[in-house]
């Protein structure tokens, strides 16, 4: 075994003119990438999916080409030690990585044992392992959870446990591959708080992120596209380059867009921006003229499809999954169902389509008791798209996948073929109708999942977090699809954690907290209720918060700009 020796800590990571090409199947991945990260520095990498971000991290970690066949050229080194061509096992935990999928990186049924796993593999002396376990658990704020089974932790806790397990190996480089993508807003906040406490440790930190908000704390930002580094520089400067972000398929920061549109310089934090805008002067008319609610944006005017009355559900362990939930869903609405993980959103949604039967209270579909209807009948009316598209795709081709539902409901022959064509055209997948669903990109698989439900021609479409894990262009494509379906008359209920999705697309909001429906009304009203939002850990997008602070009822950057530039 080659000894991997180097000074303990304090070495810089250097990537120079690095090129990587996968060989099986052949595909170019990285071209001429150069990057240097000093210890104590946090560098964020952003870009659309397929830009090469993950490949870069895997090359630094020697996973590529050791475990994935690839031809690599150039230089990667940590201090004086070259990393290219080293076996992962010989890195001795000096270069470590936290992955997006927390279930794929936890191997034990006990938190302490999980943290002890890595040092144990490296042969660290038992007493020292015990000390490291306690130290790292305290660092990521999990000291109380040492005896628990990781499977009982929340997503945010699992991901912090993953960091602790890595830190216990005392690495010099910590790579983070979209670590917060699968977390809810609270989980994200906890995760980044934990990461902050790691920053003081003179570690080289390199993180891949989709969202720009958490990235603001990074020292430097790297934008990648098609295997190349398009731009790199101090975060504060680069994050203002709105065009560059858009070109790289990353959603730019709201306030950067605002500053650019107003042609002025704004701080990127809400308070700072509000102060700057106030100093600049806010026209009186902006305040008096709330952005008019577009027609149809008011709730419950339409004929009701679903009526929920006094719905409650208690789990076996006594927790109230739902308590006294009542509301009416009208035809043609676009509703956002929001709330923290565990607040009862999914449980509620499953009552709406008959997967769960009402135990207390009732759900009525067109006035009839939904619980008394067979699931097949309800499923045809109320379509439910599960969170993970991979939980429903099984067929050999895209067209077969779409045909499955309607065929089960008795459609056949030309009617079936026509339905499939129509649905594929609606979701923009007609060109890949004969492809294997598993070969599609994540965004396409998500749209296919929608298509499989859409093909049953439901009047209501319920979507459980349809944008999780998608990059910005894919999210946009998904949302435009929903907007089109809505315009064509489908009632949409979307469960989401993404504030801007709620704000830009929904008309009405249902906010759940600990099993109760704590808000039901027009979105604008919800945005006005700052304490309620905070109590539900829902943070409106920066542009909305700035607008509210200025007394403007704008929901998008566009509306805000229009209000600010209106003449008195």
């Amino acid at each position: 075994m080659t000894a991997f020796t180097g000074c303990a800590g304090g070495a810089s990571l250097v990537v120079r003119d690095f090129t990587c090409r996968y060989t099986d199947p052949p595909a170019p991945a990285l071209a001429g990438v150069s990057l240097a990260v000093a210890p104590g520095e946090l560098v964020a990498i952003m870009g659309a999916s397929g830009a090469g971000k993950s490949t870069l991290l895997r090359c630094i970690n020697a996973l590529v080409p050791a475990l994935v066949p690839a031809v690599c050229d150039g230089e990667i080194r940590l201090g004086a030690q070259p990393l290219l061509g080293v076996e992962v096992g010989d890195l001795g935990g000096r270069v470590a990585m936290v992955f997006q999928d927390f279930e794929a990186q936890l191997f034990s049924t006990n938190v302490r044992l999980e943290v002890a796993f890595g040092p144990g593999q490296l042969g660290v002396e038992p007493g020292e392992i015990a000390a490291r376990v306690e130290r790292t658990l305290a660092l990521v704020n999990l000291a109380d959870c040492g005896d628990r089974d990781p499977s009982t932790l929340s997503g945010g806790q699992k991901q912090r446990l993953a960091i602790a397990s890595i830190l216990a190996m005392e690495p010099e480089v910590l790579l983070l591959d979209e670590p917060a993508t699968d977390l809810d807003p609270i989980g994200r906040r906890e995760f980044y708080a934990a990461l902050e406490s790691v920053r003081g440790k003179r570690l080289v930190l390199l993180a891949v992120e989709h969202e720009v908000d958490p990235v603001l704390r990074a020292d430097r930002l790297v934008l990648m596209s098609a295997g190349r580094i398009v731009a790199a520089g101090p975060t504060a400067a680069l994050v203002r380059d709105v065009d560059l972000f858009t070109a790289c398929g990353v959603r730019p920061h709201d306030l950067a867009v605002l500053a650019r549109r107003l042609g002025c310089d704004l701080p990127l934090d809400v308070d700072g921006a509000v102060a700057a805008l106030r100093a600049r002067g806010v026209p009186e008319s902006a305040r008096t003229a709330p952005a008019a609610a577009p027609a149809g944006r008011t709730a419950a005017a339409a004929p009701p499809i679903l009526e929920v009355r006094g719905l409650a559900r208690v789990y076996e362990d006594g927790t109230h999954a739902l308590a006294d939930v009542s509301f009416t869903l009208g035809s043609g609405e676009f509703v956002a169902l929001i709330g923290q993980n565990g607040s009862g959103k999914t449980t509620l949604a499953k009552h709406l389509n008959g997967l769960l039967r009402a135990e207390v209270g009732e759900v009525r579909l067109d006035g009839a008791d939904l619980g008394a209807l067979p699931l097949e009948r309800v499923a045809r009316e109320i379509g439910y798209v599960f969170q993970n598209p991979d939980h429903q795709l099984f067929a050999a081709t895209v067209a077969d996948e779409v045909a499955f539902g309607p065929r089960n409901f008795g459609l056949a022959g030309e009617a079936l073929a026509a339905r499939v064509d129509e649905t594929l055209a609606a979701v923009g997948l007609a060109a890949v109708r004969d492809e294997d669903p598993c070969l599609l990109r994540k965004g396409e698989r998500q749209r296919l999942a929608v298509a499989t439900v859409l093909a049953m021609a439901p009047r209501v479409l319920i979507l459980d977090e349809p944008t999780t894990g998608l990059d910005y262009p894919q999210v946009r494509a998904m949302l435009e699809l929903l907007a089109r379906l809505h315009a064509a008359g489908t009632t949409i209920v979307v469960i989401t954690h993404s504030p801007w999705v709620v704000v830009e697309y929904a008309e009405r909001a249902l906010l759940m907290r600990r099993g109760r429906l704590v808000f039901d009304g027009a979105l604008g009203e919800l945005l006005d209720d700052e304490p309620l939002l905070r109590s539900a850990a829902f943070e409106a997008p920066p542009a909305v918060r700035v607008a509210r602070a200025l007394g403007i009822a704008a929901r998008t950057v566009d509306e805000l700009v229009r209000a600010l530039e209106s003449e008195d």
Partner: protein, 255 residues
């Protein structure tokens, strides 16, 4: 047999073993619907999985089926019988890919009548070995008579595997190949044994399975000629079944 040991050095194969095992156990548990023999065996659609995994992941599936069955047993009672369940499922997943690899060069997705015939032979051989092992073990331990359990196991395993496995393989095999996770992709191609060895191996495996299963049934219902009958029924069963299993295992080891 070499690859059954070598695979433990490969991290991917280790992960796939755990995947096969947990997957088998996880699908076993929620679909434990109809108990055929309470506490001993259920009608288990999941029993198609060791066959599917065998063709895809080879040695990882062999260990995975054995360990997965063990974990399934954790939820329905750990006991000395689990040792036989371990060996039985080991053989159940070992036979299909070894025999198919020896007899055919095509993908294990039956489409032609010949391919179907071969598919039935390899699956039933594996099921027979599993049935004989489990039936023998649980009779000797006093759980269930061989004549009952062995026949239940062979029918359950063969029916679920012959119905589900071709469907699943048609969809999964090309996909697993595309992501390069077939056992041949991970561990490298298997060097073809000599023709003599192939014929001997296949012959021994099938003959051994026949002896163990059919012979075992004959012994259990007492229709053997007196020269085969030993002092006790259990001993008679052992004299027939164990050599049959040993022959089959030797045959499979040659492939």
């Amino acid at each position: 047999m070499h690859e059954l040991i070598l695979m433990w050095r490969n991290t991917r194969m280790v992960v796939l073993t755990a995947m096969c095992a947990s997957f088998y156990a996880a699908v076993l548990i929620p679909f434990l619907v109809v108990p055929i023999i309470p506490g001993v065996t259920h009608f288990r659609p999941a029993n198609a999985l060791p066959v599917v995994c065998s063709f895809l992941f080879g040695p990882a599936a062999v260990w995975g089926a054995a360990i997965g069955n063990l974990i399934g047993d954790f939820f329905t009672g750990l006991g000395p019988g689990d040792l036989f369940g371990f060996i039985g499922n080991f053989l159940y997943a070992l036979a299909p890919y070894r025999l198919w690899r020896a007899c055919a060069s095509s993908d294990p997705v039956p489409r032609t009548p010949t391919a179907w015939l071969l598919f039935v032979v390899v699956v039933v051989t594996g099921a027979g070995l599993c049935a004989a092992t489990v039936g023998f073990g649980l009779q000797v331990l006093g759980f269930v008579p061989f004549a009952v359990l062995a026949n239940v196991v062979i029918v359950n395993n063969s029916v679920t595997a012959l119905v589900l496995a071709p469907l699943l393989l048609a969809v999964l095999y090309p996909r697993v190949r595309r992501v390069r996770l077939l056992h041949g992709d991970i561990m490298g191609p298997h060097p073809a044994p000599s023709t003599v060895r192939l014929v001997l191996g296949v012959g021994l495996a099938i003959a051994g399975a026949l002896v163990a299963f059919v012979g075992g049934n004959c012994a259990a219902v007492g229709v053997l000629p007196p020269s085969f009958v030993a002092a006790t029924p259990d001993l008679t069963l052992a004299v027939i079944v164990l050599p049959g299993l040993a022959l089959a295992a030797a045959g499979l080891a040659l492939l």
